[in-house]
């Protein structure tokens, strides 16, 4: 079978001539020393510094302040910063921000499921904690009531 194909066309089967399908970031770039290229590198390093600053802020907060603050506020603070970091990584490092908007939406929409996952499962966890506490309390009070009859 493979004898039908010229060496080049076999490579074609694996990768295809997809150079024309490249997204905006990859089109018509030729000179690595161009202004556009340098700006792109500058943007990458800028994002690096932002990510580093956010991480340092998180660690300082986790080391010194998170124990004195209300739990919900700490969680909100950390989760907001985490999502911000994730956004920078996906948009700039993974170049999703440079793709067509429709493609961005196609990739991101399924993640909306997480909203439901998180609400449902954490609510379930909280519910079981309450159930455990209540049944423990009921168990304890039943023991207290039974205690005199044992004597």
């Amino acid at each position: 079978m493979s004898s039908h194909h010229h060496q080049n066309s076999i490579q074609h089967l694996y990768e295809g001539d997809q150079s024309k399908l490249y997204s905006g970031v990859l089109q018509h770039h030729t000179d690595v020393n161009s202004e556009e290229s340098k700006n792109q590198v500058k943007r990458i390093w800028k994002i690096f510094w932002i990510l580093l600053a956010i991480t340092i802020a998180e660690v300082i907060m986790g080391m010194f302040f998170s124990h004195q603050m209300p739990k919900a506020l700490v969680a909100f603070f950390f989760l907001a910063l985490t999502i911000l970091k994730a956004g920078y990584i996906v948009a700039v490092f993974m170049h999703l921000g440079d793709e067509f908007k429709n493609f961005m939406v196609t990739v991101l929409i399924p993640l909306v499921l997480f909203v439901w996952f998180i609400i449902a499962f954490l609510a379930d966890g909280g519910f079981w904690l309450r159930m455990n506490d209540e049944s423990q309390a009921r168990h304890n009070s039943a023991q207290v009531q039974q205690a005199p009859s044992h004597e």
């Binding site: 399908l21 490249y22 770039h29 998170s66 969680a75 490092f93 399924p110 909280g126 506490d133």
Partner: protein
Amino acid sequence: MSQTTVVTTAPEPKLWAGGRSPYNVSYGKMMTWFFLLSDALTFGAFLISYGTTRFFSSVWPDPNQVFKAFPFMEGHNLPLLFVSLMTFILIMSSVTMVLAVHAGHYGDKKNVAKWLLWTIIGGICFLSCQAWEWTHMYSECINTWSNVPGQVKHGLWGSFTDVNTPVEEFRQFFNPHKESVQNILTNQPLIAMQSTHNFFNYFFTITGFHGGHVTSGVIFNILILVNTVNGVYERRGHYEMVEKIGLYWHFVDLVWVFVFTCFYLL
């Protein structure tokens, strides 16, 4: 462009009728994204079940107490410092990866190879840190007690499911300054032991799964480095494979961002 003059006779093919890429993204890259989407759901399931377990536990180990060691600085109380170093290494390797992808966009073979090499070094550094942390977590939990006289049990797995484990074996993982936590340790030590067991189960499962991803990422990076140096992509005319592996590598960094928050900060 020359196309516009030709198209006047034949109708423009419909965007979604096949034969073209409406998103202007190649098949391989699109499928990489969808694979990462499914992987995100896997990690999401892990982290959400961790959260659920944590929510139904009335006490939970304090990361500032569990993660306070640093290599060659034994005995010092350095909470979160080592994991910050690991996070820094991974972010740094993400930067070198995106620089490799950038060089690939311009067909700059020498720089692709250079930045891929740095990425591989970063990945190996991260894995070494994780190996140290795992070894440390394991050895810190070696039992000093045993219900069989004269025999010292090793490893934490058995001890946190054994009801005879003294509370002092796991008290070290909990916040010593919080009264409610200390009350539960004193009055209901088995609840605290169960939490300790769950905490370490999730910790080793999730960081292990992430470490497995880093390991395979390093292997992929080595493969594409070899291909780059051999001129495979130069002959192909594009460095899209570097971009696809780059997506995977950034995803691994992305997962770490969430693991870092869930295990070490919250």
